[in-house]
């Protein structure tokens, strides 16, 4: 669990975009990178020696992060999801080999299967893309006959019906030249599994506990969280509440226990104050 927290926490604070630039390095995506690493170590995809590949994958991402370019959240999150899954799997392998015991083990196996399935699917498309590329190249060696219509035939064409005034024509040009509204960028959420967790709901829960007056540690606030997603949601909720000055933080030393308390002047704070970005639920 600890392993997944690292990348997730990196991503979440204030929704800031991590600075990745991956295309620089000849890889067109996380699967491409992973495949590259696997083939470099001559490993069978389904029996990946995860430790080696995971370390390199993470190292690679860190290297990219240091390059500092802005990068689409969507792409960065794909890398993080895969890095997190790899880390999980690596952690599992470090444990003594044993039977599948609880739900967490099963979830881990499912995550692994899903990752392998996606990796294999990507590999298939990559190979087929290579075939398309060579076919397109081969076919480009054939030039179609595509000559202008001989003049005596062109002369047979019916006289053009033209009804546009210069003003109408200019209006047409305005429309045609106006930069098109770029189709809204779609942020893929497909890699997110599990039921949606509402930041608002979690803020409500935290609020109820803190209003009792006693300061609580972050650890205590997330003690009953049933999934990482809830932890993340509560963390986001706290950030929001801190921004609204509804809560205060105390931390005695770096990496020490984080303590959260309700502030005196926030009696009238409600979750309605939460910023809108968390209100839309998928």
């Amino acid at each position: 669990m600890a392993a997944t927290l690292t990348p997730a926490a990196e991503l979440s604070p204030a929704g800031k975009k991590p600075g990745f630039e991956v295309r620089l390095a000849n890889f067109t995506g996380p699967f491409d990178l992973l495949l590259g690493l696997i083939s470099k170590h001559q490993l069978d995809i389904t029996e990946v020696a995860l430790a080696t590949v995971t370390d390199e994958f993470i190292k690679y991402i860190k290297g990219l992060q240091q390059l500092g370019e802005d990068w689409a959240l969507d792409e960065a999150s794909e890398f993080l999801v895969i890095a997190a899954t790899l880390l999980d799997l690596k952690a599992a392998r470090l444990l003594p080999a044993g039977e599948v015991e609880d739900d967490e083990d099963i979830a881990l196996l499912e995550a692994r299967d899903l990752l392998f399935a996606r990796l294999l699917q990507y590999k298939a498309f990559k190979q087929v893309a290579g075939l398309l590329g060579s076919t397109l190249e081969l076919e480009a060696r054939r030039y179609p006959r595509q000559v202008a219509l001989e003049e005596h035939f062109a002369a047979l064409l019916p006289e053009l019906v033209w009804k546009h005034t210069p003003e109408q024509f200019a209006a047409l040009a305005e429309t045609a030249l106006k930069p098109r509204e770029a189709a809204p960028a779609e942020v893929g959420l497909a890699h997110l599994h599990g039921s949606p967790v509402s930041v608002k709901e979690q803020a409500e829960i935290i609020g109820l506990r803190l209003r009792l007056g006693k300061a609580l540690t972050f650890r205590a606030l997330i003690a009953d969280a049933e999934s990482t997603l809830v932890v993340v949601a509560r963390f986001l909720a706290l950030l929001e509440m801190y921004r609204d000055k509804a809560v205060g933080f105390d931390q005695l030393q770096p990496l020490g226990e984080l303590s959260v308390h309700w502030t005196a002047d926030s009696a009238d704070w409600t979750t309605a104050n939460l910023s809108e970005e968390y209100e839309e639920q998928p």
């Binding site: 991956v22 295309r23 067109t28 995506g29 996380p30 699967f31 491409d32 689409a72 969507d74 792409e75 794909e78 890398f79 895969i82 899903l114 399935a117 996606r118 294999l120 699917q121 990507y122 590999k123 298939a124 498309f125 990559k126 190979q127 087929v128 893309a129 290579g130 075939l131 398309l132 590329g133 076919t135 397109l136 190249e137 081969l138 076919e139 480009a140 060696r141 054939r142 030039y143 179609p144 006959r145 595509q146 000559v147 219509l149 001989e150 035939f153 770029a182 189709a183 960028a185 779609e186 942020v187 893929g188 497909a190 890699h191 599994h193």
Partner: protein, 212 residues
């Protein structure tokens, strides 16, 4: 055999058989002026011949340009510099691939720059999963594909094919220009994807089922 008689025999115009070279040459003459693939049906309508007759003539011309002549098997075995191909549902004349280097010196336009790896991968996913949304393509590739999709659209290789009834996302499909560039008649002729997914027949469905 659907030996349909032309429905407008009266508007027939010149008697093809009376012209030098007959129907075969008439068909060739038409092939000289088309600037996109023409179907046998379109050619038949224009020539006032039956579709069957035109298809026979097209086959004959194709073989002849490739160097096989029924009439004079020995005399004319050298292939011509051009070929007749049936692509994207239509027939069209192309220069023979062997002469690409020479022809390329004379024809500058039309040969577009090569696609990048990212563009090819995106094109492949769209070709095999069409109609498909950008989100779906990006899920398979693991990266955002918005700008690559824009480039492929500009190149005329893919097009908008309406909206997904559920999510409202724009769906993309390949165009007939894509088929032309690939030299195939339909997407069904693309190489099979399954051999590249060894032992994973079930997984694709499992994987697809849970997604958008």
């Amino acid at each position: 055999m659907t030996d349909t008689a032309p429905d407008t025999a009266d508007t027939a115009g010149p008697d093809l058989d009376a012209l030098p070279g007959g129907p075969r040459a008439a068909l060739e003459a038409v092939l000289m002026v088309i600037d996109e693939p023409a179907t046998a049906t379109e050619l038949a309508a224009g020539l006032n011949l039956t579709v069957d007759a035109v298809e026979d003539l097209l086959d004959e011309l194709q073989r002849e340009y490739n160097g096989y002549t029924g009439n004079a098997p020995d005399a004319e075995t050298a292939p011509r510099g051009f070929e007749l191909r049936n692509i994207a549902g239509g027939w069209r004349i192309y220069s023979r691939a062997e002469f690409a280097d020479i022809v390329g010196k004379f024809v500058l336009e039309g040969q577009t720059a090569r696609l990048t790896q990212a563009a090819l991968e995106t094109l492949a996913v769209i070709a095999y999963r069409q109609p498909v949304s950008r989100a779906r393509v990006s899920a398979i590739r693991g990266v955002n594909v918005d700008s690559v999709v824009r480039t492929l659209t500009q190149r005329g290789l893919i097009e908008d094919s309406g909206h997904d009834p559920e999510s409202g996302a724009i769906l993309y499909r390949t165009t007939s220009y894509f088929l032309e560039r690939m030299g195939i008649g339909s997407v069904a002729e693309l190489p099979q994807l399954s051999p590249h997914l060894p032992g994973l027949e079930g997984i694709a469905e499992y994987y697809d089922a849970g997604r958008m």
